[in-house]
């Protein structure tokens, strides 16, 4: 069996196992969609007090009425990012479960190189994220979220690149964290804290200046900036900087994570 085919088979099985589990589906699909609706109810009319008419009226920078629903889209995208990062770190942690359960040892005993197992895990993490993104965005889109209000690139570029960054972070974390309890703690608190510190749900205008400065190392902040750039500002021109930083985060995460996993082999 060729290396690529072997990696593809292992990755496909891994993704299939993830999407076959009702518990995983709850967190990958059901929760993001439910939470999106809850949040869209709060954020949908955040600018309405100024837009309601009278002596002051409101206009968005592009002057397009369809973009007035952007706060709801932004909150939904933030929910998707949190659950995407959560799902990918959990999925990435399976390599340690396999090690603990003996599956990894049996796989290696069958003559499959360890690097192929790691490569299959990295690929499966990416594919899991892509399927999750496609499902969450499609379902919320069908249910009324106007994702294409600013065109395809405004949505697809931040989604694809943020997904890559999340996959990189997930690989990076499991490369260095083997303890299941520690991983659970990171999964439980990490993505939500990153989102809160990244201004995904609440504006950081009221936060102290030092907290605002911390956002430069926060991938969720750059993901939201990429989305803002596409929907509210100058499109691709505004997205380039944030997307470049996210790609850097993804590459660094994957490189460091794979090195960490290879150290475990040694």
């Amino acid at each position: 069996m060729s290396t690529i085919r072997r990696i593809a088979t292992m990755a496909a099985m891994s993704v299939y196992r993830t999407y076959r589990s009702p518990g995983d589906l709850l967190w990958i699909l059901v929760m993001p969609v439910v939470m999106s609706f809850v949040l869209s109810m709060w954020f949908g009319g955040f600018g309405e007090s100024a837009a309601a008419g009278g002596p002051v009226v409101y206009d968005n920078p592009r002057g397009d009425d369809r973009l007035d629903s952007f706060p709801a889209l932004r909150a939904t995208f933030a929910v998707f990012l949190i659950f995407c990062l959560t799902a990918l770190i959990t999925r990435a942690g399976n390599i340690h479960e396999e090690r603990k359960g003996g599956t990894l040892a049996r796989t290696l005993a069958c003559g499959i190189p360890y690097r192929d197992v790691v490569a299959a895990h990295v690929v499966s993490i990416g594919v899991t994220g892509v399927i999750q993104a496609a499902l969450v965005l499609s379902i919320t889109g069908i249910l009324g979220f106007d994702w294409l209000a600013a065109g395809w690139s405004a949505l697809l570029l931040p989604t694809a690149v943020a997904l890559f960054a999340c996959a990189g972070i997930a690989v990076g974390i499991v490369g260095f964290v083997r303890n299941e309890g520690h991983l659970q703690l990171i999964v439980g608190a990490g993505p939500s804290l990153l989102a809160m510190f990244g201004g995904a749900f609440f504006p950081l205008d009221g936060a102290p200046a030092n907290i605002q400065r911390l956002t430069v190392v926060n991938p969720i902040y750059w993901s939201m900036e990429a989305l803002d750039g596409g929907f509210v500002y100058q499109g691709i021109a505004s997205q380039t900087g944030p997307l470049a930083i996210l790609i850097l985060v993804g590459v660094l995460g994957i490189v460091l994570g794979v090195q960490g996993l290879r150290r475990m082999e040694a």
Binding site: S49, V57, P71
Partner: protein, 363 residues
Amino acid sequence: MIPLWKSVSAITSQRLRRLALDGGWVWIALPLAIIYVLGVSMQGLFSTDFTPARPYQVAVAGGDASTSPVIEAMIASPDFFSVDLVADEDDARASVLARRSDAAVIVPPDDAEQPFRVIAPPGSVVLEIVGGVLRKEIEALHGAEDAEAEKASDPNAPPSSQLSSFEYFGVGIMIMFLMFTVHSMMVYSVGDRSSGAYGRIRTLGVSRTAYLVAGYAAAFVVGVIFAGVMALATRIIFGVEWGDPLAWTAVTLAGAAGVASISFLIMATMPPRPKAVESAGSTLIIIMSMMGGSTVPLAVLPSWFADTFAWLPNRIVLDGYFAIAAGGSLAEVAGKVALLLVVALCLLLAGWSISVVRAKGEA
């Protein structure tokens, strides 16, 4: 047959020991860390004298922008606004699009009956602030009442609107983690079934009733202990004021009973697998926390939304604690305590009935 009280107390104390030894410190450290993060991040928005970290850049164009008293009022607030006069609306809009300005204001011609126009990202704070200041100045020019000042001194404002961010989230996050901690006890109960411990205990003469009562009692006791430890920790670390101890005790006992009943109902309804009960509980708790004002301040929620979910047990507990923190006595929260106890009893009976039906055939 072992007496009911003896088996209940033995199982309850074993569960408490297990929680304490099984990384129990995380249940205290994690909510404290989240309270700190939310408290620090949101303190500006909770404060009445909010000032941005840097002034907002506002491009102004149109009409007689340079002499408009409304714009002069903005220029007179250098901590909030840095005003740039630009040639026309296109320049102002381009400035926002290129992110040189946070917002733009288009001033209407003097003789036209047109409104001021604010150009800013939808949902942004700068939009609310610029729009609010313009509205206030225009109303002042027309001799209208200062609605904002009136609102700020409203004696009927809810207790939650008078709290600092640490006080708000100290209570809100504590209630959220109270639900998580209590639910972990129910997960232990289900775990005993799947590990075979339940079967072994039953063969030793412990009745099914004793086992269920012990599960509920352990959840209730853990809830009360958790609330006590968190109240003390948040008082010392963040200065959260919890008010009258007697009223606090009543709300805590009723709240722990209500939350334990919710978990009991989840346990009774879900398949007897720890993962299933844990996932269902976590999902419900996160949704209830968001709808009940634990993680998102009630002031941020639309009023219709906050009112719609005021019946949630965690929201009743939240309102109870806020009322006590604002100086309320036991008599003032007696209604909420009674309501919580009724809700707890109803949920417990519902859960009990379901578990009785599902256990038919069990010896």
